[in-house]
Symmetry: C2
Subunit: 302 residues, 2 copies
DNA sequence: CGATCTTACGGGATTCGTAAACATA
DNA sequence: TATGTTTACGAATCCCGTAAGATCG
């Protein structure tokens, strides 16, 4: 009463060959085992499917009726197995990740293009959002994993993959760039262009400059705005290395901060105890094992 | 690597219960056997379908992806089995038969209405045609079986179910009806209304009246035409009992032929060695076992 | 430490292949 | 009689249940 893919294969082969011996051979079965299978399939359906003599094998009306069903069922079963085999072989699938805007813009393009080249059939989805958004998307399962800083989230599994160092950005000929050592007080003496308060970058800066208060000139939502402001000499700013690419302009100068050394960890975060799909696992590991040799970030392995 | 309906059931139950012990109970399996089945299904698909600890069971992304497929496949498999179970139980199906026009009009209405009452879900199809048409429809498999006279067709299986006796039809007060015994010569002395030459009735009459030639007045294609002609006293005719119902009119008289006793056998004909569908088999047997007690035909069992 | 999943293992059912019996043209 | 299907039967395999082991909260 329980039909499986092999039964269907056996039926279809006999329907095509109309000869037990040949059909059995094609199915890699002995002729007797084949005969038994047909017989038990007939029993399972409660209908004779073939009229057979030693000379001729023909479908009965019931068999005729069953054939298209058998075809469909067999194809569906095979397709589903194939889909999951493909997924396992990274020839199919979908990966959704979430990452901080700076990570998304400054790092993921390279990562994803490399991944897409190696796994062209796998669909990719990237959501850029602030740390809280990333964590929440991971927690809900809407994304497979995230790339973000993370204060503390015990329900999530985090692996440090990079440390993002902060850089001073100012006009190309700004006085600060002439100094050998730049201190917090030096920076605080100039108007400061801030990022909005809900960003992790801003929170980090506020914490780093808790004693020597910065002189907030204005605050913006986008890095590109900051770049414009600094370019117009309205003030200076500090950005993580992952955002530096937006500040590489002839009119701007940048310098990695040394004395008030500010950095933030970038974690791969995922739901604790949850298995990743094969595709997600592959991207996860690709990122985890990234080599930062020629990168402004320092490489870290957990 | 061979998935069956039970595997899908097991998967779906666990996906719903999210607890091995309860799901196993619902499937009527021991918890360990259940666990093994899940595990081997995962192996067959090459993907982990559940993340499980002793406290929580959750679908993985792959499992999430598999669930709708499993639902669909399971429903399809069940449906197909159900369809064939229904067919076997005569709760579903189709029967197509072919029968001589006289059989179709004079006998089948009663037979089919009785069958339809007993098996309301089974679709019926009746093709009325001359003997050759019936034989050819049976031979090609377009109909399940036929009801017809049959000269000789060795490839077809025939079972005699009735003998159709021929009756004289003439005007109500026709001279022939006053005679005690009606001979061939008596009939031949009146103008005769013939059926068309390609009918089996006509062939039988021509054979019966090979010595005492009938006086052909005209020939028609339909019994109703004959009835009209005889009613207008243009002549007499002879028809099989199955067509008699068309000649029961106040103006007409009929008498079964005794001396030139003419009759034709009505056979159930089917392809030799071919199994009938359950529905067809039921109708076949209903016809085969018809009781002709109160019928102008004589009952015969083969 | 208690609830729950996995693994180990013996027994029973299923399925297989060989070979003999059976059937048809 | 030759070809081809079914049946008989012992062997291998698969699947189940019991019970012990492992693991998580």
């Amino acid at each position: 009463m329980n039909i499986n893919s092999h039964d269907l294969q056996v039926f279809l082969t006999l329907a095509q060959e109309k000869n037990f011996t040949r059909a059995a051979a094609r199915c890699g079965l002995s002729q007797s085992a084949f005969s038994t299978r047909i017989s038990s399939l007939e029993h399972a359906l409660g209908a004779k499917l073939f009229d057979r003599t030693t000379r001729r094998v023909e479908l009965t009306p019931d068999g005729e009726e069953f054939e298209p069903f058998a075809h469909q069922l067999h194809a569906d079963l095979s397709d589903v197995v194939q889909i999951f085999r493909d997924r396992a072989a990274r020839r199919r699938g979908r990966v959704a990740i979430a990452a901080l805007p700076s990570v998304s813009a400054g790092w993921m393009p390279k990562v994803l293009s490399q991944f897409a080249k190696r796994h062209p059939e796998i669909q990719l989805s990237l959501t850029d959002g602030i740390a809280e958004t990333c964590a929440s998307l991971v927690r809900s399962g809407e994304v497979d994993f995230g790339l973000s800083t993370l204060d503390d989230a015990e329900d999530l599994d985090k692996q440090l993959v990079a440390i993002d160092h902060f850089h001073l950005v100012c006009g190309k000929n700004h006085a600060l760039l002439t100094k050998k050592k730049i201190t917090a007080a030096d920076i605080a003496s100039f108007p400061f262009i801030h990022l909005t308060r809900n960003s992790s970058v801003r929170r980090l800066l506020d914490a780093a400059f808790d004693r020597v208060k910065l002189k907030p000139y204005l605050e913006a939502n986008y890095m590109a705005t900051l770049a414009g402001m600094v370019e117009a000499d309205l003030g200076v700013t500090i950005v993580p290395s992952l955002s530096l690419h937006q500040f590489i302009r002839p009119t701007l100068g940048t310098r990695v901060l040394q004395t008030p050394r500010i950095s933030r960890p970038i974690y791969l975060i995922r739901r604790r105890g949850r298995t990743l799909s094969a595709a997600a696992d592959t991207l996860f590991n690709q990122i985890r094992l990234t080599d930062f040799e020629n990168s402004p970030m320092r490489r870290r392995r957990s």
